[in-house]
């Protein structure tokens, strides 16, 4: 179950990782069990599975926001903790998590400020990021003045502002309506194509995973395991992609993989 894009460098490497919450207590949860996964640099990988199968936990392990009970997580050739301290990744969550007392620009500048960037550089970079997510005219607005989709775009701009090589996203469009969602998916692919980041994207929407990713990792719950690793060689996505037969075939393949888990137990 290791990386299939052989030849390119590995951005994230997860070896025999397990995660148990509340070990030894009555409420013990085996969130992840024997996870092995290599994600190659520059790729777009989705994690999909039913709620509670450990997708967020796996992502948080990559971010070193939590630590494995067993096994090891390596990011850019170093420990996940070191990668966090080196600011190797940017994160976006389901809720945009924007600071309501900061304007859009100030929110994007937050990580840059923490990292000691000069004021002029911060401003220039924030403008650049606003162009990227197409929100330039909202620079001085406050988050609550923006729609949910716009807030998510700001959150993505914030996550990319300091040029991390890795972008970790946990159901970033989960709270958006279907139309905004499809629009955001196109935007994210566009950003990915232009920046060449490695993206790990958690979702529970099958079409979303298939449309976005080069690779879909299917997970099953209790304990969280990887049950399928599906390549999605659909080439450059466009408006027609969603209506193509190969897209439907892949959607079906992922759906089958998810269903098979249930049948298996």
């Amino acid at each position: 179950m290791t990386g299939s894009d052989t030849g390119s460098k590995v951005a994230v490497s997860i070896e025999s990782v397990s995660k148990v919450f509340n070990r030894g207590k009555p409420n013990e949860v085996r969130a992840l069990d024997d996870i092995n996964l290599d994600i190659s640099e520059g790729s777009f990988v989705s994690l999909i599975g039913p709620s509670g199968c450990g997708k967020s936990t796996l992502l948080r392990l990559m971010a070193a926001l939590t630590h494995p009970t067993g096994g090891s997580v390596t990011v850019n050739g170093k420990s996940a903790d070191k990668a966090r301290l080196d600011r190797d990744y940017g994160m976006a969550f389901q809720t945009s998590g924007l600071f309501e007392w900061r304007t859009v620009t100030q929110n994007i500048e937050l990580p840059l400020q923490l990292m000691g960037w000069e004021k002029a550089d911060r401003k220039a970079r924030a403008d650049e990021m606003l162009e990227l997510v197409k929100l330039a005219e909202f620079a001085t607005h406050y988050p609550r003045e923006l729609s949910g989709g716009m807030q998510q775009r700001v959150a993505i701009a914030r996550a990319l502002a300091f040029r991390p090589s890795l972008l970790l996203m946990d159901e970033p469009f989960g709270a958006l309506d279907e139309m905004t969602r499809e629009h955001m998916q196109t935007e994210v692919l566009d950003i990915w194509a232009r920046t060449g980041k490695t993206v790990v994207f958690v979702t529970h929407s099958i079409p979303e995973a298939v449309f976005l990713s080069q690779r879909v990792i299917v997970m099953s719950p209790r304990p969280g395991r990887i049950t399928a690793d599906i390549e999605v060689p659909l080439g450059v996505r466009g408006f027609e992609t969603r209506e193509s037969n190969r897209f439907f075939e892949k959607v079906t393949e992922v759906r089958e993989a998810l269903r098979f888990d249930k049948g298996g137990r």
Binding site: A63, L65, R84, L85, D86, R87, Y89, G90, M91, F93, T95, G97, F99, E100, W101, L110, P111, Q113, L114, M115, E137, T140, H141, Y142, R144, E145
Partner: protein, 314 residues
């Protein structure tokens, strides 16, 4: 693009107007209440006098409800006029000037006490945030400190201040002791709301700061403190009134002259020779409290509300 900017400008203008309208409405409501209260006071007094004049000996007014004679309830006009009169025959200034000076004196005590208390309270909150054991261990003492009667500790603080602070580079004035009393009352709500506010920062936001490898100090300054502002300002408003009450009571029980406390004590002890004087000085104290809360509210508007106010629905 320009239309968007124009829209924004229009929205901003609309927002400013709305804020101004809210301010005007607030003042209007305040004035209406003032009129209603005056009418109630005067009306009750008129009713009581009528009953009394008619010699009906109704067993309500004067037995259960307060008497309405001029000694108990001086006419409002007398109280208003009193501000312009000298409080004693040989006084050089009108009563209003005496009350104003005393109010400024008390305000100085309260303001210094408030500032020191706010700083101490916030510092304590930050310390409690970092050291959970400290919060658990100290909380009972903090609560206990606020249940000790002020009249008991005020003289202790004043005596202690005048006797044992000779080593300071400046002379310790009695009013400074009163400030300490105000501090003593101020730090408590600030510390309690402060810790609640600092902990109110969203868990996801805390995690975001961790993902940036932010230091504890950065997390405090960029996230926890801004998140605590609504809580802190609620505490500041309470603390502002408490500081003034504390200063007045502190002056009285500590025997410090120059402020409203002493003035109120004086006019209370010579009440029969001029009831409106006491009423006038109480009005002075009330106005001082309203002003103090008003200043804090204005600061809150500048620091929090104005920046966070939604620019109306789009």
């Amino acid at each position: 693009m320009t239309t968007r900017e124009e829209t924004n400008r229009a929205i901003a203008r609309h927002e400013r107007n709305a804020a101004a309208r809210r301010g005007v409405r607030r003042v209007a409501v305040f004035l209406v209440f003032l009129v209603v209260l005056s009418i109630l006071y005067t009306g009750y007094k008129a009713f009581g006098s009528a009953v009394d004049d008619a010699q009906t000996d109704l067993p309500v007014v004067g037995r259960i409800l307060p008497r309405t004679d001029d000694l108990t309830m001086p006419p409002l006009l007398d109280i208003a006029v009193e501000f312009g009169q000298p409080p004693q025959r040989n006084s050089s200034k009108p009563l209003g000037a005496f009350i104003g000076e005393a109010a400024l004196f008390t305000l100085r005590e309260a303001a210094f006490g408030f500032l020191l208390g706010a700083v101490l309270g916030l510092g304590l909150a930050i310390f409690m945030l970092r050291k959970k054991w400290f919060e658990r261990g100290l909380s009972p003492y903090l609560v206990a400190s606020q249940t000790v009667p002020l009249v008991a500790i005020a003289p202790i603080i004043v005596i202690w201040g005048s006797k044992s602070l000779g080593w300071l580079p400046f002379t310790w004035e009695p009013w400074m002791s009163v400030s300490i009393i105000a501090t003593y009352l101020t730090f408590f709500p600030v510390a309690m709301n402060g810790i609640k506010g600092l902990q109110s920062a969203d868990a996801a936001a805390m995690e975001l700061m961790r993902s940036y490898a932010a230091t504890r100090r950065q997390t405090l300054l960029k996230l926890q403190l801004p998140a605590s502002m609504p809580y802190l300002f609620a505490a500041f408003k309470l603390a502002a009134t408490v500081a003034i009450v504390g200063a007045i009571v502190g002056e009285i029980s500590g025997g410090v002259r120059g402020g409203l406390g002493r003035l109120i004590l004086d006019y209370a002890s010579r009440y029969t020779t001029g009831p409106p004087r006491l009423y006038a000085s109480v009005v002075g104290a009330a106005v001082l409290g309203i002003l103090a809360v008003g200043v804090v509210t204005l600061l809150e508007y500048v620091a929090v509300t104005r920046r966070q106010a939604a620019r109306g629905a789009r």
